[in-house]
């Protein structure tokens, strides 16, 4: 698909493959023409922005892309990269770090977490502690209490 824009006599031309045009919402020439007629000002602003984005990306496209994420599964919530590819959803806030390269191949990688979420661990331990007390298993309850205290100290 070819997109030609003329602003103040300056001509800018873009050539897009079918998949890129579809991703940018430019796949239906008829509705494109209607959008231009029906919402002329809003359409012009949107196209201007698109041209800026695409020409901006073209300047940096020659840099080699860094390698993809080394994780296939989020260690915090167990969400897999395949789940993300199939649904477009993520499992937890930490998935953003774990699948950073999947979300944006040019992103700088922050330290990804390697264990279960502390808040969840604490909730799970407290529930187990409650159950241990109800069953009068005080030895297990004492172990769980110590684990919860250790987590609290680590947070502090």
């Amino acid at each position: 698909m070819f997109l030609t824009q003329i602003v103040n006599g300056q001509v800018s031309e873009l050539a897009l493959c079918e998949s890129c045009a579809r991703a940018k919402g430019l796949f239906d020439p008829q509705s494109l023409t209607f959008a231009e007629k029906f919402f002329p000002e809003e359409f012009k602003q949107r196209v201007d922005k698109l041209v800026r984005e695409l020409t901006g990306n073209a300047e940096t496209a020659s840099e080699p892309a860094p390698p993809m994420s080394m994780f296939n599964r989020c260690p915090v919530c167990g969400f897999s990269v395949d789940n993300y590819r199939n649904t477009g959803h993520l499992g937890c806030p930490d998935c953003y770090k774990v699948f950073a390269r999947e979300l944006d191949p040019t992103a700088e990688i922050e330290d990804a977490p390697e264990t279960e979420a502390p808040a969840l661990t604490r909730a799970r331990l407290q529930k187990e502690l409650q159950q241990a007390i109800e069953r009068e298993n005080y030895e297990r309850a004492a172990q769980l209490r110590d684990q919860i205290n250790a987590l609290t100290d680590a947070d502090a």
Partner: protein, 359 residues
């Protein structure tokens, strides 16, 4: 507050006297936030959802306006109650299907609904008159600040507020507006408008379903947040598009009145005739005919002795109330619902003097 009291109060979507143009029926600002360290509700266990609710609920109940709010876990609500809340837009379809660990909080005096463990951990809808989105955004930002003082919210400098769908991460605000577009619908232009809006990052869908059903000629517009759009840019773009659409709708209405006057009067007259004489009325018939009655009122085809704005509000209230009763009928199996509905409308028309003007 009990559920029955809540359902007797006017809906959050109920238009007010500030809706002047007869096109924009209301707007919603949706704010979403997630807690750091917990899986998103769509990928979480019942324990995890319970842990989120345990943290969030005490904080919300301490916020001014939420202390005496209606609060219920979804598993406590019957199918009919959920349907009633859904038709009043006090639950989202996603939330209505949820069970344990998911809560809905509806304050008495604020036109706000707060949901815990919807698609995100905390989802708040602020309902506004007309296109008063700025006020809604301000309210949501104040509420967000209060939540952030007490809770650890998932945020990253790169993505903004983190959400279960990465493309929606950012300011955590989404904008919706409900429009009544009988002109564009009758002129068969909605397909073209839908495609045109997609190019401008605005989605439009029928109010009463996700399909191509144009019942009641009401549509919800939704601003799709772009990754680099700020709230102000998104708001400007959304408001410009809506105002443009409102002008087009009004132009098309005037054009229909001039070019297809007989067809238009016939359609409105048939709707009026049905409502004044029917003995049974389905919800779809009610919504479609009330939409045409609204159009007839706005174009001066039906003239009322009372003020036009009050009649428009009353017509909308009938539609909302009947939808709510239909939802509740799932529980108590109210017999003769179709007859009751028809009687309500006949009584309304009988009690509000008016005449049908022919030109």
């Amino acid at each position: 507050m009990k559920i029955n009291t809540l359902l007797k109060a006017p809906s959050n979507w109920a238009p007010t006297r500030n809706d002047s143009d007869g096109v924009i029926m209301g707007s919603i600002v949706r704010m979403v936030r997630n807690l750091a360290g917990f899986p998103f509700p769509g990928w979480s266990t019942a324990e995890s959802r319970a842990a989120v609710a345990e943290r969030v609920l005490p904080v919300i109940k301490n916020i001014q306006g939420f202390k005496t709010a209606f609060c219920a876990e979804l598993s406590q609500l019957s199918y009919g109650q959920r349907r009633a809340l859904l038709t009043r837009k006090q639950l989202t379809p996603c939330m209505a299907a949820r069970q344990d660990g998911c809560h809905v909080i509806i304050p008495q005096r604020r036109r706000t609904v707060l949901m815990v463990n919807e698609e995100e951990h905390i989802v708040v809808h602020s309902f506004q008159d007309g296109l008063n989105l700025k006020k809604g955004i301000r309210e949501m930002q104040q509420l967000a600040d209060q939540l952030e003082d007490e809770l650890e919210i998932a945020y990253s400098h790169q993505h903004g507020y983190l959400t279960s769908i990465p493309s929606e991460a950012g300011d955590g605000l989404q904008l919706y507006s409900l429009l009544h577009l009988p002109g564009l619908t009758c002129a068969n232009m909605m397909n073209q408008v839908t495609k045109a809006l997609e190019k401008l990052h605005v989605s439009i869908s029928p109010y009463y379903s996700d399909t191509q059903d144009d019942t009641g000629h009401q549509y919800v517009l939704y601003s799709i947040p772009g990754p680099e759009d700020t709230v102000d840019e998104m708001l400007d773009n959304f408001e410009n598009i809506i105002m443009h659409l409102v002008r087009r709708e009004q132009q098309v209405r005037r054009k229909l009145l001039v070019d297809s006057n007989q067809h238009l009067q016939d359609a409105i007259g048939r709707a009026y005739g049905l409502l004044t004489n029917c003995l049974r009325l389905s919800m779809k018939e009610l919504r479609d005919t009330i939409s045409l009655l609204r159009l007839g009122t706005l174009l001066g085809i039906i003239r009322w002795e009372e003020e036009e704005k009050d009649i428009l509000i009353a017509l909308n209230t009938i539609s909302e109330e009947q939808a709510c009763l239909t939802g509740l009928a799932e529980d108590n199996g109210t017999p003769n619902l179709f007859q009751q509905r028809a009687r309500t409308v006949r009584e309304f028309l009988h009690n509000h003097p008016h005449y049908f003007s022919e030109s």
